[in-house]
């Protein structure tokens, strides 16, 4: 589904990704871990199409489509979804209008008519109950005055509404208490399907207790230095990252 080859990216003069390779197949969950500053969030931003990052080399293909050639909005319509580490507050834009515009943009892209009001509301109800998001929150301005947990649940709510092919979760567990972590994970797990893939970026093993990955990759200094199964996460949790750095240097 997703093929990343030799990806290099920089912000200003600062090269952050230095030849990253990753292959993600439908139905798989890939966890990406790594120390601070290793390039995890940059990878997420580059995949979603954030303009501040400049791709200097490499390719990214989603089902054969060159993602790097597309605007952020077109990537989303092709099925890429980024759950933000820090969701943005947008005063004055209601969460529902926002989602309706997004759903209709995707439908128009597929040559389909806009969603019927009734169908949309049914979908909203279903998805907000999935992440236990208070019905009133979906009517308020996007993320405005939401607690940290509510913001993250709102991300998963949006993901459920938009039904993307490729879900990228950027430190969705940061700032969550145990209960919120459980709810968010439940939402993600409910969305697992044979034709949907996930890239889960996290610092901590604890998220991976709830969302069980098929692969764990360690990102360090802009490249993936080690890949393994879910047990690699446990090893990292126990031993930290230094041993990998040593392994590399050896």
């Amino acid at each position: 589904m997703l093929k990343i080859k030799n990806l290099h990216a920089k912000v200003g003069d600062n090269e952050i990704l230095k030849g990253l390779n990753l292959d993600v197949k439908p139905g798989e969950i890939h966890a990406i871990m790594g120390p601070n500053g290793s390039g995890k969030s940059t990878l997420a931003a580059v995949l979603a199409g954030r303009e501040a990052y400049e791709v200097t080399n490499g390719t990214v293909e989603l089902d054969g489509t060159d993602l790097l050639d597309l605007e952020a909005s077109d990537r989303a319509r092709e099925g890429v979804f980024l759950a933000f580490q820090y969701p943005i507050e947008i005063p004055g834009v209601s969460n529902l209008n926002f989602m309706k515009a997004a759903v209709n943009a995707k439908l128009a892209h597929q040559g389909q008519p806009p969603i019927k009001a009734k169908d949309f509301l049914a979908k909203v109800k279903e998805c907000s109950s999935l992440v236990e998001l208070d019905g009133r929150l979906s009517e308020r301005s996007v993320n405005e005055g939401f607690s940290g947990g509510e913001k993250k649940r709102n991300e998963i709510f949006q993901m459920a509404i938009l039904e993307p092919k490729l879900c990228i979760l950027d430190e969705t567990d940061s700032g969550l208490d145990i209960d919120a972590l459980r709810v968010v994970s439940k939402g993600v797990n409910a969305m697992r399907s044979p034709d949907r893939a996930f890239i889960v970026i996290t610092h901590y093993q604890r998220l991976l207790d709830h969302i069980i990955p098929d692969f764990v990759h360690v990102l360090s200094n802009g490249i993936i230095v080690k890949s393994g199964g879910k047990e690699l996460a446990l090893e990292l949790e126990a031993k930290g990252y230094d041993w990998i750095k040593e392994e590399q240097n050896a």
């Binding site: 954030r50 909005s73 989303a76 979804f81 980024l82 926002f98």
Partner: protein, 399 residues
């Protein structure tokens, strides 16, 4: 056609950039034109471009002025108990209102209006009378180098209530000067709502000045929308003369191309327990230039005043600019005043967030603009007016 040969021989000199109040709104180009007032016979065709009622579906009484002169044929005056509404030119000498604004004595623009004013509206609402529909003043500028000098007078007696809409339009080939003054006084417990919309094609220099005097416990609520206009200066002066007045005045301006929009406001609290709330929002596109200057005075006797002012500006394009200046002068010690003024760009984080959900850049900006304007526009009393304004903004900026 009356050529205004002595227009620059007024007692007061035309403003120059040396004056702080006019520093960012130079009028040199206007001073080089040969202005005339229109004295041709008013014919039956109003305009091929513009309808006499500019707001679709708005049920309102109507006073239509063409190049400053009243058009009785196209007007629809209210006939109601306790309401006097007529063109100023038809008011008898003994009933003629006394204009008290100092603007006519201290400013070149005001003096011109006083010297040349042709006509305007006289509106008087008696005690406890509430007019059932808004009164729409529609002013059309049509012609080259035309100068018009409307002058309106509104008095709302105790407990009365009225909504006045002042809409100005101009045809594509128009140029010259619109120089309008509206003076209103609001008696105790009375309410005046005022919506002023400038939607002018052509190249008219638009000067408008509202002078509002509020008596005890009166309410004033105004919205100023600069929808389209070559060069526009909106001046508003509110004087709170009695205790417990409430003043709300909001504005939105979205100039583009080489347009210029200037908003100058003065809120003068001279008595106790008054509240005022001001919100002006601007988005500057293209090579447009903007000015915001909001002065709030809280005089020594105006204890327990609660004044709020906010001016938020987005500079959307590289060539655009705005000069914004809030000014507060507070002489009383028991007051609550807050103000904020910002000049920024579209929130790139918000834009990316919207785009990352599949909404394209144009639609994402439209959502942000709509949200930005919502706080200003949602308080306009008439739904038809709200829709018309949004419609024009949308068409203009292609959202």
């Amino acid at each position: 056609m009356t050529v205004l040969t002595d227009i620059f021989k007024s007692t007061l000199p035309p403003p120059t950039r040396k004056s702080e109040r006019w520093k960012y709104s130079p009028i040199a180009k206007l001073l080089n034109s040969n202005l005339s007032t229109d004295s041709s016979v008013i014919d039956s065709v109003f305009s091929n471009e513009i309808a006499p009622n500019p707001v679709e579906g708005l049920e309102a009484y109507r006073l239509v002025f063409r190049n400053g002169r009243f058009d009785s044929f196209l007007s629809d005056l209210p006939i109601a108990k306790g309401v006097i509404c007529m063109p100023l030119s038809e008011v008898s000498v003994e009933d003629a209102p006394e204009f008290k604004n100092t603007y006519s004595k201290t400013e070149w623009v005001g003096e011109l209006n006083e010297s040349y004013h042709q006509d305007g509206m006289f509106l008087k609402i008696d005690r406890n009378i509430k007019l059932d529909r808004p009164v729409l003043i529609h002013h059309l500028t049509d012609g080259k180098d035309v100068a018009s000098f409307p002058r309106h007078f509104v008095r709302v007696e105790e407990g009365g209530e009225v909504d006045v809409v002042v809409w100005s339009s101009a045809t594509k080939n128009s140029s010259g000067m619109y120089n309008g003054i509206l003076e209103a006084s609001i008696a105790p417990n009375a309410t005046l709502m005022l919506e002023k919309i400038c939607n002018e094609d052509g190249e008219v220099y638009h000067f408008s000045h509202e002078n509002i005097i509020q008596e005890r416990d009166s309410k004033f609520k105004m919205h100023t929308f600069t929808v389209k206009g070559h060069w526009v200066r909106n001046e508003l002066e509110i004087i709170s003369q009695g205790k417990g007045t409430d003043s709300v005045f909001n504005g939105a301006f979205l100039p583009t191309g080489n347009e210029h929009v200037d908003n100058h406001t003065i809120m003068d609290h001279t008595s106790t327990d008054g509240t005022s709330s001001e919100l002006y929002r601007g988005i500057m596109y293209g090579n447009s230039t903007g000015v915001f200057n909001g002065k709030i005075f809280v005089r020594q006797d105006a204890q327990r005043t609660n004044a709020f002012q906010q001016n938020t500006n987005i500079v959307a394009d590289r060539g655009a600019s705005i000069n914004a200046k809030p000014e507060l002068e507070i002489y009383a010690d028991d007051v609550k005043c807050s103000h904020g003024c910002t000049v920024g760009q579209f929130d790139l984080d918000a834009l990316f967030y919207l785009k990352s959900r599949g909404i394209d850049e144009k639609a994402a900006k439209a959502l942000l603009v709509e949200a930005f304007l919502a706080d200003v526009i949602s308080n306009v009393p008439s739904a038809e007016l709200r829709e018309e304004i949004m419609k024009i903004y949308t068409e203009r900026h292609g959202w």
